[in-house]
Symmetry: C2
Subunit: 469 residues, 2 copies
């Protein structure tokens, strides 16, 4: 890879995420226009930089802001131009961006290679190379950064919830997968650092995005939806570095023959041989999500929990049957249930009522309250035989209330081992799930989902620890 | 099996679910008592039969009802006695039930074999046999029937949502699993016919419950959580008949060695060899749920959808990437993507805009509206090459709104093929998911969950069709 070029590409993402000035080419007073929705988003979230609405028919103001017929009329520095005009008008607009020394562009317009307009698409890249600026897209949703309040999505805010500020950065080749996952992230209650929808990826591609997110200090976890990688060797080179810094989770579309055919017809991606991808993922510590459920379930454990020293998981529960299912789920996911240390057993025996058997899974009975959870988490949190804790809290039972949730939150913040919670249920349960999630405890609706997430964490921990990180 | 005895046992469930009169032994004015909560539940849901609060210290009225010191004082027929008093007082109360010719009993009290009190537990069965009545429990939550408004759960209604009336009957050996699943069923929005928590199962056991639910006309789908089956041969005999009538879904606790050990310590169940269970399940058409997620996901497809004639699933979508993931999920779950018939292709080509490729998965593009969904569902619903439909509706996209949900609901009610919907998302999406679910469309948050449910439906359909049902 060309180092100088790479660092310029990384910098262009900085211009997208933290622009001092944004030109929106295609901004309009007409609420049906994509450019209107994008400008509205910037206004809605209170973006503090300069906004320049650009419209070839501009005549005075657009949405209360002074408008321009061309970026050339702005006469000030423009960090980012978001282009949302019909495909055939894009080359001319890009030429003007080049002449106006715009730092980087996001082309949300569709109508290029994905509908056979390959020549038109090639022209865009030629212009960008000539003027030395970068392109994200075309045919993409652009970017979102809840912290800097950049939001180029042309989907109305009432249709898609915006996540809070957090540590997960998500890049998606598919706008559909991107927007629905973004909506799910907001719904699940965990936080987003950056969202990047990269569409046809004629210039900035998955390699550049991975490079940028690996270097971005605010990104704790990198998540990708991809159908294929064109620059395989470069991707591996960047991934090798990235996975030593932070977890990289990938869900790949087109893992089956029929899926690969569908992917080809979707983004003209060569999905390639999944076994080859799997081998590369494993070798370089990339975490493979098998489904959108995995993607969300894995993201939140990596976002909030420390690495695990091993695969020994202590289950504590206020429901016996759920403890049995959880035990099965450990062994189905490469995890084991350890023996408690002698010291732990003695302490728990002294603190628990006689009906509680002191062994794992620790079934603290249906009347377990915050006192029992406190003791169990204190003792097991310090047990050298235990690498991680799965706490099953059934809020349907008489003893489980917000004090139990508080006990979990307290220990989640003080124990230096991964903790996950399993709490299936309705409204009363959900209220407590929200509390715990918002204080950084990953909560799952089933032992199986929690065990899959723990397995992913243990595998990545092992990869990193083996490399002295 | 003893036929006469069996039919008596089935009848005793009828007495539990549709009692003309219920005695609550341990009813109390003290809200901390289990008997108080149970009586309150009957009053809250507007139970229309006769209620007799029984308390050894009774003196006038309990919660506004005339109270009695013993069932012997009632002097009227009692169909059901719910027993919620300390373990050591239960034998005397049962003796009185026998003398008062109570038809059947539910013993919610704990403190028997599960804490080593085997002799005390044996005494209960001896009394029941002598007086020829039946026992559900002890150490159980009893039963719930939203239609007849019977509700013996001693868990407060604010902690656990009650499901609406529906076709799924759920029986659980574990009260913890039972109550959390019940809460999840209510939360997911599908309907319950009967809930039976059977605890220590000293008299009525999983064989009797299966027999009853198989014969119960209101039960469309039978769902079980079990850790072990004591009467294996009888269970197979009943299951063989039951699965020809209706789907039987089982989640088994203790499928791994460590899980089996945990199960033994939990309910003293011999969980047995899971491979043996799996073989029996397969041979007799029992649907195996691998997780609580499966259990819920499978329940709703069986509750609402017709059998499938084969495993050919058409995917229609308004998001390309999600269509790719869905295609992968079919092939990972024994399903296939068919070719559209020539007739279907012609009709779709005429109706869809040029950018839509006429092939499966049918990617109708991000601006697909109800008109496109209508055409696709009309045409594909009648395509002889298609056995089932997976409709992916991403409500984040501009064209997807409540008219698309209405189109799905309309076709769900008129097409005689299974339809499932995949709609991941936040608040806007959830509102539409609730609409569709309440009109009998099973909606999933990921293609993978939907494909697993379709696979279960296809497998059961094949089992039944092969036997001429």
């Amino acid at each position: 890879m060309d180092k100088k070029n790479e660092s310029y590409k990384v910098k262009s993402f900085e211009y997208m995420m933290h622009p001092k000035s944004v030109a929106i080419i295609g901004a309009s007073n007409n609420p049906d226009k994509v450019g209107h929705v994008i400008l509205q988003n910037y206004l809605d979230v209170g973006y503090s930089g300069k906004l320049y609405p650009i419209n070839i028919n501009a005549n005075g103001s657009i949405m209360g802001l002074r408008s321009y017929k061309s970026v050339l009329d702005v006469k000030s520095d423009i960090d980012l131009a978001v282009v949302a005009i019909p495909a055939q008008l894009v080359p001319k607009a890009l030429e003007e961006c080049g002449r106006a020394k715009v730092k980087t562009t996001i082309i949300v317009s569709g109508g290029f290679a994905e509908v056979g307009e390959v020549d038109l698409q090639d022209k865009l890249l030629e212009i960008a190379k000539r003027y030395k600026f970068t392109i994200l897209g075309p045919n993409c949703l652009g970017v979102m950064d809840p912290k800097s309040r950049v939001d180029t999505l042309f989907l109305p805010t009432y249709k898609i919830d915006r996540p809070r500020i957090g540590g997960v950065s998500f890049a998606s080749q598919s706008g559909a997968v991107g927007s629905s996952v973004l909506d799910m992230i907001a719904h699940e209650g965990f936080g987003l650092s950056k969202f990047i929808s990269y569409g046809n990826a004629i210039d900035l591609d998955e390699v550049d995005i991975l490079d940028y997110l690996a270097k971005d200090k605010e990104t704790k976890v990198i998540v990708f939806y991809m159908e294929g990688v064109k620059r395989g060797k470069d991707f591996i080179e960047v991934a090798k570095r990235a996975t030593l810094e932070k977890p990289v989770i990938v869900i790949k579309g087109g893992t089956t023959e029929a899926g690969a055919t569908a992917a080809h017809s979707h983004t003209a991606s060569l999905a390639g041989n999944y076994e080859a991808y799997e081998a590369v993922f494993k070798q370089f510590g990339i975490i493979k999500a098998e489904s959108l459920d995995d993607l969300l379930n894995f993201s939140k454990i990596f976002d909030t929990q420390p690495l695990a020293k091993g695969n020994r998981v202590a289950i504590i529960t206020n429901g016996g049957g759920t403890g049995v299912l959880a035990t099965d789920s450990l062994y189905n996911n490469n995890l084991v249930l350890p023996q408690l240390s002698k010291d732990s057993s003695t302490k728990l025996r002294a603190a628990m009522p006689p009906i509680v058997n002191i062994r794992l899974p620790l079934d603290m009975a249906g009347d377990a309250d915050d006192k029992r959870f406190n003791v169990a988490l204190d003792v097991i949190g310090n047990d050298p035989n235990v690498d991680a804790i799965m706490a099953i809290v059934l809020f349907q039972t008489p003893g489980a209330d917000s004090r139990v949730a508080a006990s979990i939150m307290h220990h989640g913040a003080t124990i230096n081992k991964p903790i996950v919670v399993v709490s299936p249920g309705g409204n009363y349960t959900q209220a407590h799930v929200n509390m715990m999630e918002s204080s950084g405890i990953p909560v799952y609706t089933s032992p199986e989902s929690a065990a899959r997430a723990l397995d992913a964490l243990v595998k990545y921990s092992r990869y990193k620890l083996a490399r002295g990180r």
